[in-house]
Symmetry: C2
Subunit: 450 residues, 2 copies
């Protein structure tokens, strides 16, 4: 082993155990806070999906004391069971956060068990944010170590990195010592949940929920001195070597506490595949700048990356899920409603006459000169005017992040019909002010229907 490969697990454990919230740059804390808000939005928003109903039906007879809250609903379970459910609901719309370098959706596995723990024992907002940040940094760094080979071969990296990072985050809350944290990481790494073949089924959302449970179980065991290897991440028959043909351990250990991968986390503004985000972004900008209505429009001409038509070329979607694979519907609904959140991809939305009529006036052309993160949109109006917008980096990218206000609106939108209108601003406020909360459990209390 090269020097960089030695004691990887221990170096990571030491970083997690010793880092204080004061050590985390304010920009990183801010990004972790934005991740928290986005996670709240999708966890509450997804909480009444059939996937969640089925999971709750399955585990209810076996769950323990009512220690923690299922967000957006009335059920309360033990913290391990609750972790599964909130982890599932936060992924079910495919609308959670993304670390674009690894395609890891970190929040589900990490924040779900941390919030449950915060309802079970005293945890301040600062401790909570520190734990989440330690978890995210762990997820992205172990992910960088094995990406892309690990993902390419078939692993749902959100689950595999998720188990380790959930151990890190919950172990931080449990105040594990360095040796216990080494064991927690080892036990977490031992539980590799998630294969890409699950995509398209409920199993996909199970993966982050289970990863959260895996990590929580790992740190609860380690807290009682349940041992693991001291070298689980880097050993010859440990995690990285077993689970990937590529290992770059420097990605885990170099610059710990100086270079923060957490700062690179991003959020989806639109509830569909990232490939059509540039076109939606352009349409919404043109709509808002020109106060457009569907009736004014003669045709919309999209020049897009060829992948867009390959993946989302469905012209006449009949159900909401098909709408997510239709750049035509996406562009039309973006003009009509000015957004593309989960409701814009409902069964009702793809059948609304003003939208379907505009959809039929959308022309999409593949253009190899357009990059994946770009779109070139021309809208011809009935009055003869021609409007043009070129999007270089779609909103939600690292270069052009979603604004704080857009995140607020995303939560407001997703919580609609689940939380009361009076409650939503309080929840948003609590997220932004997480560092000032004397009890992080307040976040859960505000995220269940009052």
């Amino acid at each position: 082993m090269a020097e960089a490969d030695e004691d990887v697990t221990r170096k990571l454990a030491r970083f997690i155990v010793t880092t204080k919230i004061e050590d985390v740059p304010s920009a990183v804390r801010k990004e972790a806070t934005r991740t928290l808000l986005n996670w709240m939005a999708v966890a509450v928003g997804g909480s009444h999906h059939l996937t969640v109903d089925n999971a709750i039906a399955a585990i209810t007879p076996f769950s323990g004391p009512a220690q923690a809250s299922v967000l957006g609903r009335s059920e309360r379970f033990d913290i391990i069971s609750t972790t599964l459910i909130n982890g599932i609901s936060s992924h079910v719309f495919d609308f959670d956060d993304t670390h674009l370098k690894t395609i890891i959706h970190a929040s589900g596995p990490i924040i779900s068990p941390c919030l449950a723990l915060a309802e079970f024992m005293p945890v301040t907002g600062r401790e909570f944010l520190m734990a989440i940040t330690a978890g995210m940094e762990t997820a992205f760094r172990v992910g960088n170590c094995v990406y892309p080979d690990h993902y390419d071969i078939g692993w749902h990296i959100t689950g595999t990195a998720g188990s380790i990072s959930a151990a890190a985050a919950t172990g931080k809350l449990l105040k594990l010592d360095e040796q216990q944290m080494v064991w927690a990481l080892g036990l977490g790494a031992s539980q590799a949940v998630g294969l890409r073949e699950s995509f398209g089924s409920m199993n996909k959302s199970f993966n982050p929920g289970r990863a959260g449970q895996n990590g929580l179980t790992a740190s609860l065991l380690a807290a009682k001195n349940f041992t693991s290897s001291d070298h689980m991440i880097e050993a010859k028959r440990g995690w990285a070597n077993t689970i990937s043909t590529k290992q770059d351990f420097r990605e885990i250990t170099e610059g710990l506490g100086h270079r923060w991968e957490t700062a690179l986390n991003t959020y989806k503004p639109f509830a569909c595949g990232i490939v059509i985000h540039p076109a939606i972004d352009a349409c919404i900008q043109l709509r808002n700048e020109n106060k457009l209505t569907a009736e004014q429009i003669q045709k919309i001409t999209l020049k897009v990356h060829p992948l867009v038509l390959e993946l989302t070329g469905k012209k006449t979607p009949k159900v909401g899920l098909e709408g997510k694979f239709s750049v035509y519907h996406a562009a039309a609904v973006a003009i009509v409603e000015g957004k593309a959140s989960e409701k814009q991809f409902s069964d009702q939305s793809v059948m609304t006459p003003v939208i379907t009529s505009l959809r039929d006036r959308v022309i999409a052309m593949a253009d190899a000169a357009i990059k994946e993160e770009q779109a070139d949109v021309v809208i011809s109006l009935k009055d003869g005017r021609v409007l043009h917008k070129f999007v270089k980096h779609a909103v939600g990218s690292v270069e052009k992040p979603m604004s704080d206000g857009a995140l607020d609106l995303k939560l407001t939108d997703l919580a609609d019909g689940i939380l009361s209108q009076a409650q939503v601003p309080k929840l948003i406020d609590a997220c932004w002010n997480v560092e000032r909360l004397s009890q992080a459990a307040t976040l859960a209390r505000l995220a269940i229907p009052s």
Copy 2:
């Protein structure tokens, strides 16, 4: 994909769902029954190990209703929590069953959740034996599909095959239909627990316990129509292709219901690495045939496979665990006590004068002409006689299985001090007569201290 690669998951699911106990040849049912008895022995025997204590301490605050029994102890937990604990205790002595072709220890992941389920809902002894058999057949077949590459790279195959087989077995008890069983296998396959780097730590025993929980969770979810892929085992980014560089899907689908891998399961007669079993076997045979005592013996000369001295060449073990890595201690204690169960590898045993004295008269020589399953032992007595025994296949191998009586003694031995002397014969009797039990839960009731 070749034809053999198509619909592997569904063919396996159909076999599991449609097979009736009447379809299982009596020799296979007998072997499954022997596996049950052996599992009982090690689960009860291991139940007071520190590994188990620590796991119980960790999960107790979060466990659900008292639905099922921790064997050998007084605790009762929900069926998912109980599965973890019984799965851990049954592996903690490394004394459980072995499918020698794959080194899978199938019983922990499979029987632990099945027995817990049998305490939760009505399950007859025949249903119970059928479920176990379906689970074992699944474990060994998916194991054969990916062995040896999968194991060589670093996976603890007991955990990875265990999650799938536990889903099969518990799904059979839950009477899943074919589609639900496909999903259960998919959800089970999604949870790959266990890396070989865990060997030597408590994490190793965690793996079969967690695999049992993984499979039980999978089938409970599938029973509520929580979906997975239809092709999780065979798909390009499914289980076998992601988790192994070798896949032979015929091992899973060919001869289902005709060729039974379950018939090949074996049990360890001695509580130590299999490599020194031939030497122990020879010593016990010579002892019993000649009514030997330690005092009569001048020296014991062992000719063994070179690996024996590499792995177990410790001459003066100071603690019990070191005794397991000392062919010298093993030969000596085999002569003195006529067995080599868990107690023969205790801290006390390796310090007992009559044993340490005889141990110092053991000479071990590597001989490349001796195969791994063989040993050649010569005992020179003080009265001038020379005794010789060549063991071709050690007891516990497929060629020379442990006798039913030896399994009875193994359970009796391991249960000593945990279950009452009156209770043990009843437990043994219930295992042998599992097919006649109106409630399989009787097995659990007899395996807790009365």
